[in-house]
Symmetry: C2
Amino acid sequence: MSGWIAVAGLGPGAEDLVTPAVSAALAEATDVVGYIPYVARVAAREGLTLHPSDNRVELDRARHALEMAAAGKRVVVVSSGDPGVFAMASALFEALEVAPEFAQTDIRILPGITAMLAAAAHAGAPLGHDFCAINLSDNLKPFEMVEHRLRHAARGDFAMAFYNPRSKSRPHQFERVLEVLREECEPERLILFARAVSTPEERIVTVSLAEATPEMADMRTVVIVGNSATQRVGKWVYTPRSAGGR
Amino acid sequence: MSGWIAVAGLGPGAEDLVTPAVSAALAEATDVVGYIPYVARVAAREGLTLHPSDNRVELDRARHALEMAAAGKRVVVVSSGDPGVFAMASALFEALEVAPEFAQTDIRILPGITAMLAAAAHAGAPLGHDFCAINLSDNLKPFEMVEHRLRHAARGDFAMAFYNPRSKSRPHQFERVLEVLREECEPERLILFARAVSTPEERIVTVSLAEATPEMADMRTVVIVGNSATQRVGKWVYTPRSAGGR
């Protein structure tokens, strides 16, 4: 039997946001690899080997998946959210780039509900107009690039979604992000902190940029900044479809 | 029985990309409203009334949904992709804004797999780093705003996904989009034209910006422009997770 790899997005947390395509791949898999908390979301069963691994070992994990597929295994690489958004799909192709002996591997990328879109849905429709997604972590890029992109996103009046806004190892950077936003945007700009979306611990807080504090975000939070037209209606936050006088 | 509205994303086309949450809402619905081709994706059954409507009547449709929910109906408003990305969620809140008598309506937004993420998955991982989503239609915003956002997205070195790139009524604008991109980006920049993703007619073509022509896009196409580091490996296109020397 020939092996394959499916890089699958498990969505933000709720079972009913996992696509049937991902469930089908998991049902056929012999091996599941991924970051510990994501592998923990896959039910154990006979014939399935779980390979949880630590954070920041994405390339090793991708290489391991390629080796197993070459040995005939049916491997699902799990990401939370969507595997193509700051997750394992790029890591797999990076591993493939430096290991041409695996060029013929049967690979599929299975999309998932990414955190910003689940957060947006539960808050209303804050990303209902043009928007950007920015990973605030500087593990893999200099923080100056984050700042550069923030300013362009603000000057283009994009709504913005921030992944990995804050960690214990870099508590000051999100403070700097808020400073940059305050330089570029009006104080009334709406900003949403959406934590653990679609899980029992979900909490979504909406404040003005003037009221936002760094402690409102942690690594389980997706932050959404509205554009200049984003507004509230009742408990909802949404961005109108029209802009610039239309 | 009290009525409700679920604004649901049907995903890009394939049945196995419809989330269980959306399927459950459709199973409980008494009424489905939406643009004709999206309502056509919902199976008819006893007790379910389908209300297909034309394009560009989003506010009328949203108002109709609010009225039916107030009358006790269980209404699913269907969008393709994700309802919060250039789709019906914002339209519903716009309708709610001008009709405070419906303020107490039970509303849920159910996310879906949006076209750019399905296209990215089938192409590889071109949105694996920071990216923007831009609606190129000027129905609801002046084209100058599109151009302004394009330049900021390019100068921020974001990857970009374009929705509604081209229609019969405005064939020249996508030509102008390509011109702007050529002013801002190098000729080798990769650009993907992903048509009818996840349907039997799916076709994904990747070319350099120098080779791109306006006819490569139509209204069923999502266009993805890589960032300056986006590359090919075999048949795949991906954007590395690292940038700026990390």
